[in-house]
Amino acid sequence: MIAFTLICLALGVLAAVHLARPLLREGGPGRLIGVAAGAVLALGALAAYAVNGMPDAPGAPYEPRMAALRAAAPATLSPVEQEEWLRDAVRRDARDVEARRLLGRYLAATERELEAIAHIEHALRVSPEARLFNDLGQAIMTLNQGTVTPEAERAFRAAHAEDPAMPEPAFFLGAAAYEAGDRSQAASYWGAIIARLDEDDPYRMIIASRAADLLSRPSMGGADPAAMTEGAERPDIEAMIAGMIDGLEQRLADEPADVSGWLTLARARMMQDDPGAASTALARGRAAFHDDPGARALLAALAEAFELEETDA
């Protein structure tokens, strides 16, 4: 404040003297005009400054501010400051994989997927790690409204190849297979993850529950359900559905190695308000997959979702 005042005073006085000098040299009434003009210039400038001036307001150049942020504990920073902290780390060391990964995740979470992808790809050039491939795949998926695009699938495959034990890439590969209509491949991916995870691992429960939900949804084989039932009366529709469910049960009796089929059958029986038949379907599924803990976990997850007692087939 003092330095600012002194500088402004010095500038004002210099300008006033420079302005008044020709008039002062002239002598006569010009002198008075010169002094008045100089004074008005200096004081008027201060007055005009004072209209909106903020003499106490400090400057905030970027570098000193970042130095202060660097010195602070990251946990005490706001999200925007944390983001800038990460950006600063990346600026200072373009090969800082961890900073890039965290920045990429943060950007993806705040709907800035393109930039997130760029940072993750930079990190991958330095260190092709499974978690980075996985983050890349997820960012691409988010960018595409949750669809596992071929690019995302490539990233998940790379992640799965780097670390087959990592649950997320396998889960999304299963999702890709499911979106492509390959339910058995999806069940295989998801079952394999579930089999690898501990019983009390929260991921295991989440994945099993989600997978059971998806795999138990009826598959119309590409047909449009609305078109199939168009013009039919309700009793006819119910009869048609019942026939389809019976057909599914018959097919499973012939080909029992279809976990998705058992899940669908159990769900369908629940929709028919027949929990006993649903329990039986799940029990037959468990029997068919007695040596596959992944598939059994999927069947158990659906049973839990429908609050069904486990029974023998």
Binding site: G12, A15, L19, Y49, M54, A57, Y62, V80, E84, A118
Partner: protein
Amino acid sequence: MIAEIGRYLVALAFLACIAQTLLSWRGADQGGRSGAARAGAAAAEIAVIAAGAAFLLLVISFIRSDFSIAYVAANSHVDKPLLYKISGAWGGHEGSMLLWCWILALFGLGLARIGPKDAALRARAVSFQGLLSTLFFAFLAFASNPFERVFPAPIRGADLNPILQDPLLAIHPPMLYVGYVGLSAAFAIAAAGLVQRSGGRALAGALRPWALGAWTSLTAGIALGAWWAYYELGWGGWWFWDPVENASFMPWLLGAALVHSAIATEKRGAFPGWTVFLALIAYVLSILGAFLVRSGVLTSVHAFALDPERGVWILGMLGVSAVAGFALFALRAGSLGEGDGFEPTSREAFIGANNLLLAVTAGVVMVGTLYPLFVDIMGWPMISVGPPYFDASATPLLILAAALMPMAAFMPWANGGAKPGLKQMRAAFLLVPVAGVIIAFIAFGAPVLAVAAGGVGAWALCGAAMDVGVHWKAAKVRAARLAVTGRALAHAGVGFIALGGAADASRPPDIHRALAPGESMTIAGRSLTLEEVRRADGPNFMADRATIRVDGRSVVRPERRFYPAANQTTREVGLGSDLRGDIYLSVGEARTREDGVMAYEVRAAFHPLVWMLGLGAFLVVMGGGLALTARLMAGAPARARAGDGVKAAGTADAAQARAT
């Protein structure tokens, strides 16, 4: 503290401009050599130094990324390359207004130091320039201060608009502002001359170099803007009749009329009132341009301040300048005198016709630009006035003006005589290549206007060549030769622009294809093969760069960029240039084609002879520069006339009179 010192310096410059206005006015009343006049000049110096220092502090704030300054936070980002951090200082409204004000102050100082030889006229002109500066510095200090603060200061800036992050855009605005603001000096001299009752000839002589310098700079600024639009905006045009382009084109047209009319007034006393009127209205239209760009009344790629309150300020400045200038003109136009009269086939008549066409064109452009605003104000259904209107109205007028242009140089002053002039020009002989060009354009299936423009372009080129051939030898002193060369270059530039524009208007349709790497497409007989698309990230953007091989030889690399800070995508065009024209390529995003293949949207265009536009603009600027140099060289001995004798000045003046 830097920001606050900057704000104080802006205030100091504002007060200095007031002092400049008042003291110079008193100095002019005292004959222009008193202490008051010198104090007025000192005030102009203070304004220049204060505004220049404020601008420097703003640039430093950009370099330091001080986001406590709202303007820096809104137009910069820490990751931006240094060049664009610096150019960001004039990339937005407030900073560009500071630059505008600084240039205004510089012209005030220029008038005080090298202004009209008549001391009283000079002091009066400095006073008027001070008044114009005061208006703008008040606007800057109280309504558009670039040192406005924001607390808490954001940690990140919003970044400069990515399309402005271009080397050409770093120099385009300063050139344009020198042009716009330079016209203020012509305004100030004209207004001062009306107050002083200086007489038309003296006034025309005094304002001509300022008008010429400003118009040359405005030409350079517009040309750089057109070039930038051509390669940066991604759709391949160089002139869109965009309202903001029109806002710069109107003062350019009137500036062109002014530099020619001032010659006739200075040499023969013709059109004194018209010349002074042009000097006044050209600057008023410059302020109108500022209003259109900065008030928010228009939506355009160029419009960068959407603030109606600022618009009211600028409208006020426009009103004060226009009322002061035109009221003076109404009261004192009679003091400008009358010329000696001239024949309809004299050079004055051709200059007059040229002026009429340029002025009518400016009027037509103004109607087309302002009519949608008028409709909006009246609450009528919204309309837009676009290229069809301007092509049908303004372009034919410009073609006609360009057709008359080469002949004026061969017409004698005053008494006229078209026949000897055209004979000296060998006009009949020149029509042969012109006919050849017209036939070529017709053969290529060019539209009618393009055929006409092509023919006129060839005519102007031939005329310019003949002008040098005939008049250069006749000119005996260096200044006169420079003047002839300048005129011929400028007229040749117009010819090249007409030819280039005509060729571009006759170009084949653009092609849009989704190409996968390895696939090809053809345009204008050239094969384009997409070889690959790679990541090519920059410091503050991410980019996909395509490599496209043209005819299996040269390579063009268009890019598609994403600027995350601004959250904006741009297309960086790839140009493959040779004498035939430009292959113009831009690449879009990747998408899966119907056949399931991942492909990139590629847009290809061929712009034949487009280089002629650039060459033409360069020649016009060179011509203007040479003419200004010639004027200054001829003026130097004239100034020495008072002390060193009459002979040297008489020689130079006579030589230039013959030449121009």
